[in-house]
Amino acid sequence: MTKIFETPLYPYERSPDQDATTPVRHKVVVIGAGPVGLAAAIDLAQHGIPVVVVDENDKVSHGSRAICFSKRMLEISDRLGIGDRLVEKGVTWNKGRVFNGEDEAYAFDLLPETGHKRPAFINLQQYYLEEYLVDRVRELQAEGAEIELRGGNKVSAIGTHETHVSLEIDTVEGSYNIETEWVIPCDGAGSPTRKMLGCDFGGRVFEDNFLIADVIMQADFPTERWFWFDPPFNKGQSALLHKQPDDVWRIDLQLGWDIDREREMQPENVIPRLNAMLGEDVKFDLEWVSVYTFQCRRMEKFRHGRVLFAGDAAHQVSPFGARGANSGLQDTDNLCWKLAAVIKGEAQENLLDTYNDERVEAADENILNSSRSTDFITPKSGISRIFRDAVLDLAEENEFARPLVNSGRLSVPAVHSDSSLNSPETGSFPKRTRPGASAADAPTDDGWLLDRIGDEFAVMTAGFAAPEVPAGVKQIHIANPSEELKTRYMGDAGGVTVLFRPDQHIAARWAAPSAHDITAAIARAKGA
């Protein structure tokens, strides 16, 4: 059977741009057709903005790569039209076990809160995510949206100007030039665009290597996240086992720093390691093997004039905590409505600076959490290891030590409490839905709240009578709020009115706003 990642999904085709006498000017060009680039393009197209995606390849990612997708990422995917496919195909999991040596240190259950459309996490190979995003691009094209995907198109030079950005693109049929008002590089941690522009990418390198193997096997391991500190089959190091769809299992084995990378990736060296872990009698096939090191670093600024970096191109974290692809989709979630508003003339360019401010804040939070996990998993000093082992020894019998065990703090959305787009609140409401937080889902009498908010400014009123809202603003009135909605939005108050941004973050909330209050809060949320 041919694997999806071996099939060209967007093979090179000659574009009329290549025969134009003067470079054609586009609105937005996205560089890179990975999950982040494709999400950006779909989001912009859904906002009515023409967009061209260029990628030097023509296939989805080889190997599973990102596998763990968070609730917030799934909620964004709902907005992009692929949420159902992800959840149907993905493996939903809640339970995990942590082992210390040969013993189980403790088991946990994420105990997901009820009253949300989406689960806390699913596991799914990155190539399926990319395939569904490409399908969604095709669907939008069939509906007449101006969204184009150019495979075999490699950006080889970039020039920034006051009014536009010029790009030179290499193809098998030679080079051509285009111009664009805005460009979104989503070309990964090694971002060639970032290098061509000479931008910084500072941070911390962790001196360690991890073997990552996708194994196809019929095994009766449960659908749980298993993490080992110092297991007998990988002494002094760590290991992870996690289930994906199609009987594919992700295995991570820490290798240490002084290794021969090429040698470790050879099947004759990988297979004995896996036999030691899984048992000699377990039959398996290797789907994908890689050895990676990791870094925690970010660009100082994600916005460079008309160039707006997103995803790993802008920030890189260690994989513990699932904060890579999940944060990349939160980048484009934050960016695309702002860019669409600027292009449509509904907001000034300074709104794009808040993309920088908010997503730099989120990147710092992700880097902090993933650095701490990495320091716990791979202690870098003798005393650090002594404390780590003391935590694990205590955790077996003592509940108090368990929160200190850090095998990855799983991704949750950043709260932009200090964002300039928030309006000061009046009234006393639950902390979790304060201005700057992403909307908490809840059931309503007409479907899930997040589905009703959608991707435009929306004013929700629960409990109280609906206020007057400015013309053209979506209004959601919930006369009989569910218990979940009451707990998450109202608390002890008899009612609340909440203003959601198009990325479903909360911009303002009141007890009883006037139409003027709402108009002012929307203007502020657009950067005025």
């Binding site: 000093s381 005393i383 020894d393 003592n398 108090f400």
Partner: protein, 63 residues
């Protein structure tokens, strides 16, 4: 009575600060720092019964 339930709000922040405090110290210096820290925290706790329970607890943990 010794509290054996989780009790530190920002446990990750505390742990990171604890490890950072040892940065650049050799083994003897780290042991000395730990001793000072234990004595300081013990004074804050103050209750001999609680301190005795804590010592018994950590002595019973198998490595």
């Amino acid at each position: 009575m010794l509290n054996t339930k989780a009790n530190i709000a920002d446990h990750d922040g505390f742990y990171a600060q604890l490890i950072e405090a040892h940065e650049g110290l050799d083994d003897a210096q780290s042991q000395a720092l730990n001793a000072r820290l234990i004595l300081t925290l013990a004074n804050h706790i103050g209750d001999n019964q609680v301190l005795s329970e804590a010592i018994d607890l950590v002595k019973s943990v198998s490595e």
